[in-house]
Structures are given as structure tokens and as C-alpha cells.
């Protein structure tokens, strides 16, 4: 086999310019794909991190039907203490879960004593919330980022409300909410911080201590309506999601219907469609790479067979088995693919290193100062390189087969 490879390599060197052109094309294709995967992957991870670590958590558990009417923050779909206990028991047994934060969300009126608007309030345990969504303090554009996230009697308000109602840190505001029984209650809070804007319904989210929330809603029991979960490793999302769905499937009401629902961050965030688009673009770029490799290698191998017909006749005449003739041409395609993939990977790694060294800063929506940190994993490199090599081999298959089937008499007579 080594001798076949040696002959194949020398044949590639013999047609140096053509080999260089084809390998450059493959190299460029590999660089384009790996850079796209690296940069888009970094952007994706960064944005997903912003959503999961700054707001949503990796997964959320609600009463069945809650997410369908999440914009109304319905209190009639709260999880009662017994149900909360059941959920906690399940979550505590899943080793992949790092921590979870129980929330009591509701709609309220927000007033600065002269103007009033609506707000969606999240009652949270400040310590657990800060651990579940650790990037939350980084979303503060005014106020202290030092722990604790909140103290009783304090509120974090979204920038939308701060700007609209001209409220600043230290101001006293009033929240007025209607509870499940229809009675209204009001409570004053001191603004501890202003949160940066976010797209979607979260743009109107404010945060108070969960005990303040229960007091405002006159709830005496430890009810919650949302449990946000942080995983130790986000890559295990699908597995844990499936595991929780299985675990909660048995929790049914008196009618035998499921009482709980589990959603991943992607099902709750509008950004998931952007992620899907990036994934789709990656597939298209990969298809382009496959086409480049197929066409360029096929072209070069067809030419190689055509130009060496007499040579094929000679090696066939002296008794080279058809399989070995095929192996020589397949090896040429293989070497083109391997060379292009190796060179492309080396160039990509160098460019990615340079991009990281230069620290490209960009803004996305209202999030500013994000640092792009492109990277490609071994799995990505292996997949792309494997794809290129397989495509190069496939493209060589027909010309190699043709060479192996060539009639030696005709081949020797070829001019």
C-alpha cells in the first residue's frame, strides 16, 4: 500500500500546478467551512449563554398550560406546595442539574407616583436566582452588581421602564397587583438596579424577593409558577430534558392528565430561530464544500486518467491487477483530499488563533461589548476533514474504475 501511495504522490507532484490548484480549492473550502463553524458557533454559544445564564436557565418547569399563556403570567397555574415538593424531589435526584431557582411570576402595575405602566414581576430567591442565572448581574446597567442580587423591599427594573418613567437607582416605586381572588394590593420598593433590555416578553421583567411577591399577592403558602434549572454541562440538555419529561409524565391530575411541562431554553426564546438559521447555513456551507471537493477532484482525476492512458496500458500489460490500478488512482484522490483537509485545518486554526488574539468586540441587539471568541472543536475538524476525504475518494471512484477496466491494447495504442 505504501508503494501505491508513493506512486500516487509522485503523480500528483508530476502535475504540480494542477495539484496545487485543486488542493488550494479544497483548502479554501475547508477554511471557509471551519471559519464559519468557528465564528457562528462562538456567536451562537455567546448568545445562548446570554439567554440561559442571564434569564432563562437551561430548562424550565411549569404547570401544564402555563407556557401557552405565559404573556399573561396566570396565577391560577401556580404549582401548589405539594407539587413543588414533588418537583424538587425529582430535580434533587438528577446529578446533571447544578442548581434550580423557584420563581413566582405575575403581572403588576408599576408606578413612580406620577405615571403608571405594566410590569412583569419575578419573585425570586436572590441567592438561588444568582446561582441559576449567573450572568444576571452583568445585565445590570445601573446599580450595584455586588451580591446579593436583591434584598427584601428592593426591585430590579427593566431599562424600558426606567427610561419611560424616568426612574433611577434609589427611587421609591409602587407595585400594585391583583391576586387570584381578585383583590388588589400595593407595596413600595426601592430601585436597586436597572436591567438592560431584552428582546421578547422578558423586556418588561422586573425582579423582587419571592417573599415580597407572596406578600404582595397575599399568598401564604410557598407556591411558585416557574422553576428555572441550570445544568452542570449545557451539552447534556437534550438528555436531561428527556429524563425530566419521563419523570414528570407520571405526575397527573384527577382526570389522569399530566400536571407539569418541561421546556428547554430554545422552546422559550425567540433566539432559537436564529440558532436554527445558523445551523441551516452551516449545512448549506457544508454542501458547498462537498460540491467543491467533488467537482475539483473529479475534474482532476478525469484529466489524470485521460492523460495517462498509455501509462495505464503499460502497467496493465506488465500484469498489474485491475484492483491495484484502481488503488493508484484512488490514492491520488485520497492524497488530494487529505492534503487539502490538513492544509485547510492548519490555515483555519491559524486564522481562528489570530481572531482570538485580536479580540473582536461586537453588539447584538441591545447587548453591547460582546467579545467574539471563535473556536472549532476536534469533532468539527474531524467531521469536516472526514467529509472532504470521503468526497475526494468518491470523486476518484469513477475515474479509477475506468482506469482499472481499460483495455490494454487500446490503451497502448492511444495517441
Amino acid at each position: 500500500m505504501l508503494n501505491v501511495l508513493k506512486i500516487a504522490f509522485r503523480n500528483l507532484v508530476r502535475y504540480g500546478r494542477r495539484t496545487l490548484l485543486t488542493s488550494s480549492l479544497i483548502t479554501l473550502g475547508v477554511v471557509a467551512v471551519l471559519l464559519f463553524v468557528g465564528v457562528s458557533g462562538s456567536f451562537k454559544a455567546l448568545m445562548i449563554g446570554q439567554f440561559t445564564d442571564g434569564m432563562l436557565g437551561n430548562l424550565e418547569v411549569h404547570r401544564k398550560g402555563y407556557v401557552a399563556s405565559i404573556d399573561n403570567s396566570p396565577l391560577n397555574l401556580n404549582m401548589q406546595p405539594a407539587l413543588v415538593k414533588k418537583v424538587e424531589q425529582v430535580l434533587d435526584k438528577v446529578p446533571e442539574i447544578d442548581i434550580y431557582s423557584e420563581r413566582l411570576k405575575f403581572g403588576a402595575m408599576f408606578s413612580n407616583f406620577t405615571e403608571t405602566t405594566s410590569i412583569r414581576v419575578n419573585g425570586v430567591d436572590p441567592a438561588r436566582e444568582a446561582a441559576t442565572v449567573p450572568l444576571m448581574p452583568t445585565r445590570l446597567i445601573a446599580g450595584s452588581k455586588a451580591p446579593p442580587l436583591l434584598k427584601p423591599g428592593e426591585i430590579l427594573i427593566p431599562s424600558l421602564l426606567a427610561q419611560g418613567l424616568k426612574v433611577k437607582v434609589g427611587d421609591t416605586v409602587v407595585l400594585v397587583a391583583t391576586n387570584l381572588q381578585g383583590s388588589m394590593n400595593g407595596k413600595t420598593f426601592v430601585v436597586r438596579g436597572v436591567l438592560e433590555g431584552a428582546s421578547g416578553p422578558s423586556g418588561r421583567d422586573g425582579y423582587i424577593d419571592i417573599n415580597d411577591a407572596r406578600s404582595l399577592l397575599r399568598i401564604t403558602q410557598p407556591e411558585v409558577n416557574e422553576i428555572a434549572i441550570r445544568l452542570k454541562n449545557p451539552a447534556q440538555l437534550a438528555r436531561v430534558d428527556a429524563q425530566l419529561k419521563r419523570a414528570f409524565a407520571g405526575t397527573v391530575n384527577q382526570q389522569g392528565k399530566p400536571m407539569l411541562e418541561v421546556h428547554t431554553w430554545a422552546e422559550l426564546s425567540p433566539f432559537s430561530s436564529v440558532v436554527n438559521m445558523i445551523d441551516l447555513l452551516t449545512i448549506f456551507i457544508k454542501i458547498m464544500l462537498v460540491s467543491i471537493v467533488l467537482i475539483s477532484v473529479l475534474n482532476v482525476m478525469i484529466m489524470a486518467v485521460y492523460e495517462r492512458i498509455r501509462e495505464i496500458g503499460t502497467i496493465s500489460a506488465i500484469g498489474t491487477p485491475p484492483g491495484r490500478i484502481m488503488a493508484i488512482f484512488l490514492s491520488e484522490g485520497l492524497l488530494l483530499g487529505v492534503g487539502g483537509a490538513l492544509l485547510g485545518t492548519a490555515v483555519s486554526v491559524a486564522v481562528i488563533w489570530a481572531l482570538n488574539a485580536h479580540k473582536i468586540v461586537f453588539n447584538f441587539a441591545r447587548t453591547q461589548g460582546l467579545v467574539l471568541a471563535p473556536s472549532v472543536g476536534v469533532a468539527d475538524v474531524a467531521t469536516i476533514a472526514g467529509l472532504v476525504v470521503v468526497m475526494a475518494l468518491l470523486a476518484s471512484l469513477q475515474p479509477a474504475w475506468k482506469a482499472s477496466r481499460m483495455d490494454p491494447v487500446r490503451a497502448l495504442g492511444h495517441v
Binding site: 508503494n3 501505491v4 506512486i7 509522485r10 503523480n11 507532484v13 508530476r14 498509455r310 501509462e311 496500458g313 503499460t314 502497467i315 496493465s316 500489460a317 506488465i318 500484469g319 498489474t320 491487477p321 485491475p322 491495484r324 490494454p408 491494447v409 497502448l412
Partner: protein, 236 residues
């Protein structure tokens, strides 16, 4: 037992609607260690006959036995295997592999056709390179060699696998006078040393005089029984 025996050998080609009879029922026998020339003008069937003996082409009818094997029955793979085991080829245009050195060209059939161990390979190639007077040019590629040198390498390659039979189609056609006689002399020397049978085709009267047995072909027919050629003194 003859090394090559043909009985009523026919080869017909079809070119569109036209049938061309390249070989028309020839009979001959060639003994081992012979130095044989097939002679005749262009289109007389020499190359077709050599192709059939070399298992590169199948007879249309008749019987052809080479090294005790009915070669007409061999399929593509078996024919390649048979050629690799029993035959060597020398071509008019030398047909050396351009990316390989003289040494590697001789080594090629020992690796790609047969599977000789390296030590045995090296000994055989060194012996052959010395025998054909090309030891000093072992590392040169074909484009660095003259026509005569290339054909010497081709002779060595044909003999590398200890072939019983070497077929040479117009081996001197692209060589100057001196080189042509040197190559023929080399072929004869190798026949004497190794006992290999050489079959070559030519239409050059001076070259055919070097053969020990002549088969003359004309329009696909053997014109006369095999004869020993008349001596020609012109090449001294």
C-alpha cells in the same frame, strides 16, 4: 513441448459495419530459449499476433497455448495474473513510468505485480542493472535518459520477474542504428544468460537479420514456414 503454439489462429476486428481479418488462420510453434522475430509490412498482423500471445487480446477462433496454458480462456484478471507471472514486455516507445527512477521502474513489477521481499528485490534489480549496463543511471528518471538507455531499462524491467517469455513490439523502431543493435545484442545476451524466450516484431530488414527464427506475415497470413534469417554484415 513448445513454449508457444498456435493452431488455425484467427483474429477479426469489427470497425463499424466492416470486419477486418487481422490474423487469418496461422499455425506456428516456438520453442523455449528461442530468439524469434515476426516480420512483415505495417498492417500485416505482427502486433495483433504479439498481443494475442501476450494475453492482451483474445483470438476470435483457433487455439493458442502459451506456457502450457490455453490463453484464449483467460478472463481479464486471470490474463493480468498470467502476464505478471510468465511474461515481460518491451515497447516501441519504451513506456517507462515517468515518475519512477530507472531502479524503481525495474522494481515496479516486483512490487505491484509480484510481491518480492525487499532484499530479494534489491539483489535482482542490482544484477539486472549491471547486466544491461545501467547501474550508474539507476537513480535517473526516464526524462534524464537517452532512448537507448530507456530501452535498456525496459529490457531489465521485462526480465525482472524472471519471465519465461519476453514480447517486444518494434523494440528498435525509435532507436538510432547503434542503439538498436546494442539493445538487440543485450536481448540476445539475456536470452543466453537467463534462458528467456524473446519474441519481437520488426519491419526493418537489418534488425530481422538478428533473429534466429523468422516468421513472415503478410495480410494476416504466415507467408512461409519459419526460417533462419540470412546473415547481414552491415551492422558491425
Amino acid at each position: 513441448m513448445s513454449l508457444v503454439r498456435a493452431e488455425k489462429l484467427v483474429k477479426t476486428y469489427r470497425s463499424g459495419e466492416v470486419e477486418v481479418q487481422a490474423v487469418r488462420g496461422v499455425d506456428f510453434a516456438i520453442e523455449a530459449r528461442s530468439f524469434v522475430a515476426f516480420v512483415g509490412p505495417s498492417g500485416s498482423g505482427k502486433t495483433t499476433l504479439l498481443n494475442m500471445i501476450g494475453c492482451l487480446d483474445h483470438p476470435t477462433s483457433g487455439k493458442l497455448t502459451v506456457v502450457d496454458t490455453d490463453v484464449a480462456s483467460l478472463d481479464r484478471r486471470a490474463a493480468a495474473n498470467f502476464r505478471g507471472r510468465h511474461m515481460g514486455f518491451i515497447f516501441q516507445d519504451f513506456n517507462l513510468i515517468p515518475v519512477l527512477s530507472a531502479y524503481e521502474n525495474i522494481e515496479y513489477p516486483l512490487i505491484m505485480v509480484q510481491n518480492w521481499p525487499e532484499q530479494k528485490r534489491r539483489a535482482q534489480i542490482t544484477r539486472l542493472l549491471e547486466a544491461v549496463g545501467m547501474a550508474a543511471q539507476a537513480g535517473k528518471r526516464p526524462d534524464q535518459l537517452s532512448g537507448g538507455q530507456k530501452q535498456r531499462v525496459a529490457v531489465a524491467r521485462a526480465l525482472a520477474t524472471n519471465a519465461k517469455l519476453v514480447l517486444a513490439d518494434e523494440p528498435t523502431a525509435n532507436l538510432d542504428h547503434d542503439s538498436a543493435y546494442q539493445v538487440l545484442g543485450l536481448m540476445k545476451k539475456m536470452r543466453d544468460e537467463l534462458g528467456t524466450t524473446f519474441l519481437f516484431s520488426t519491419h526493418d530488414p537489418k534488425i530481422m537479420a538478428e533473429a534466429e527464427v523468422l516468421f513472415t506475415l503478410e495480410d494476416g497470413r504466415m507467408r512461409a514456414p519459419a526460417v533462419a534469417p540470412a546473415p547481414v554484415a552491415a551492422h558491425a
